[in-house]
């Protein structure tokens, strides 16, 4: 089957789901179960509302900052720790334990110390994304070929050029998949934080419409959130497959 035909089954499945949704919504005729048409119409009216657009922009801005910080901090610290097998073994159990705790229940601590606002939800989104990024990078750095490390030692490379010429190119594929994973987790963290307490942002809009019982608005906004998440993810997937083709060591 060629590449073009591979698009057909997922599209058929999506179309079938939309049809089921339309038909059941029309049959139910219920105010709490709107069809796709109503959802899209209310999304269109939302997009004309400057307050709502402000919320979208707020979420996008905080997401971008916390995502960039999570990727940078997780990648650099992960690489540095990964170079030392002893300290990885000592520190990793703590980080894995932290990572398995449902982080959302820690959010009140962020609120107590940072107050309600961009700082607390941004920091929370950062923490949601940075731990997995860090863990992936530690594992990837620990997996750098020993042969390459020995070679760099025999060439008397400095720590800096070791990182730049050996470690970074070896861990690039993991960095790319980490970046993809980290994006989704940061976004989930941010939306949860906004849902819990916010004065703007997409998560806040979702819960505000819940208390107003505007289901068609919520569904319209869920579609928007999905689209906003999907575009960067597909771009990151593309980036990942390119990097894998170029840098992955094939055994």
């Amino acid at each position: 089957m060629n590449a073009r035909r591979a698009w057909i089954p997922p599209l058929v499945l999506a179309a079938a789901l939309v049809v089921v949704w339309t038909v059941t919504a029309a049959l139910a005729g219920s105010a709490v179960y709107p069809g796709p048409g109503e959802a899209l119409a209310s999304l269109r009216s939302d997009l004309g509302d400057s307050r709502f657009l402000g919320s979208v922009a707020d979420t996008a801005r905080v997401l971008l900052l916390s995502y960039g910080a999570a990727v940078a901090a997780g990648a650099v610290t992960g690489m540095l720790l990964g170079l030392s097998a002893f300290w990885s073994r000592a520190a990793l159990p703590v980080v894995y334990a932290l990572n398995s705790v449902p982080k959302i229940v820690l959010y009140p601590i962020f609120l107590l110390f940072l107050g309600i606002g961009d700082l607390s939800r941004g920091s929370f989104a950062f923490v949601s994304g940075v731990l997995p990024m860090f863990l992936i990078m530690v594992e990837a750095t620990a997996g750098v070929s020993r042969l390459h490390l020995k070679m760099s030692a025999s060439l008397g490379m400095s720590r800096w050029s070791l990182l730049r010429r050996i470690v970074v190119p070896s861990v690039l594929p993991s960095l790319a998949s980490g970046m993809r994973l980290c994006f989704g987790l940061t976004l989930i963290g941010l939306l949860l934080a906004e849902m819990f307490s916010g004065s703007s942002g997409l998560g806040y809009e979702l819960l505000r419409n819940l208390s107003l019982a505007r289901v068609e608005k919520i569904i319209g906004q869920v579609i928007l959130v999905g689209l906003l998440a999907l575009v960067p993810t597909l771009a990151l997937q593309q980036l990942e497959s390119r990097i894998r083709n170029r840098y992955e060591v094939k055994v």
């Binding site: 499945l13 398995s100 959302i104 998560g203 819940l210 289901v215 999905g226 999907l230 960067p232």
Partner: protein
């Protein structure tokens, strides 16, 4: 002597001890230092008791909560049941979907792209929709937690089914095994280690989803305990709840990991 070695540390053999301590003891040191630092900072008076309380008080209050009948029945038991229900549902559905994908090329092509991007999508955005449709009871929580954890089970089980050695499949064909025989005798045992890995992650995801949805909007449950304490400025109960939830999640994940490893033939 070793300090003057020209061999850089990253190619030297890993030392067994640093400063006389092996790595597990250093792990303990890290945890102790963090706990003592919080304890001292909270007792020093530099921070208000409304913001932070000493770790010892968090722990003693968390243990007190275990003796509180209302907490145990209304919150702990309820959350545990919700987690179990969503975990079982996602385990069964996840393995079934992965099996269908392994059997049919068409289903595989149709579902795989969605599995790949699923965790990039913030599923929790659906929670308000489910609450409007089903009310604030247990239904939306179980639905969302199942949805959130099923996909990781599918992804892992699929890897397992697809890594079945071709020779075993050929053997099944030459023995003219029926479909159910193939599933029971070849596919499931061969995919078992990957399925178990998926189930471990599935439990972690189910716990996260149940606690997060309870935390955001619910009438009771472990997540709601933390939420209510925060909203009532009850700092002691809030920290006790957080400690309790963290320890609970950690122990549940460790216990399931140990239990599932017993079935894993790769580890024998």
């Amino acid at each position: 002597m070793r300090r003057s070695s020209v061999v850089p540390s990253y190619v030297r053999p890993t030392p067994r001890r640093v400063a006389g301590l092996p790595s597990p003891l250093w792990t303990l040191v890290f945890v102790l230092v963090a706990v003592v630092a919080v304890e001292v900072y909270a007792r020093s008076g530099a921070v208000s008791r409304l913001d932070l309380i000493p770790v010892s008080e968090m722990l003693s209050r968390a243990i007190e909560l275990l003796g509180d009948r209302k907490f145990v029945v209304d919150s702990l038991l309820r959350s545990v049941l919700l987690i179990c229900a969503s975990f079982v549902a996602s385990a069964v559905a996840g393995v079934a979907v992965a099996y269908a994908m392994a059997r049919s090329r068409w289903i595989h092509r149709a579902v795989k792209p969605y599995v790949n991007v699923f965790y990039a999508l913030p599923v929790f955005a659906l929670y308000p929709v489910m609450v409007v449709m089903f009310g604030t009871g247990v239904v939306p929580i179980i639905l969302l937690a199942t949805l959130f954890s099923v996909v990781i089970v599918i992804a892992n089980a699929l890897v397992g089914f697809e890594s079945t050695p071709a020779i075993a499949t050929k053997l099944a064909r030459s023995l003219e095994m029926s479909r159910s025989q193939q599933l029971r005798k070849i596919l499931l045992p061969s995919a078992l280690p990957d399925i178990l890995a998926g189930l471990k992650l599935g439990l972690a995801y189910a716990i996260i989803a149940v606690l997060a949805t309870e935390f955001i909007l619910a009438t009771t449950g472990l997540g709601q305990v933390v939420n209510r304490a925060y909203n009532n400025f009850d700092t002691i109960d809030m920290y006790a709840g957080i400690v309790f939830v963290s320890v609970f999640a950690l122990l549940a994940n460790l216990a399931l990991g140990a239990a599932l490893n017993a079935f894993d033939w790769r580890r024998r």
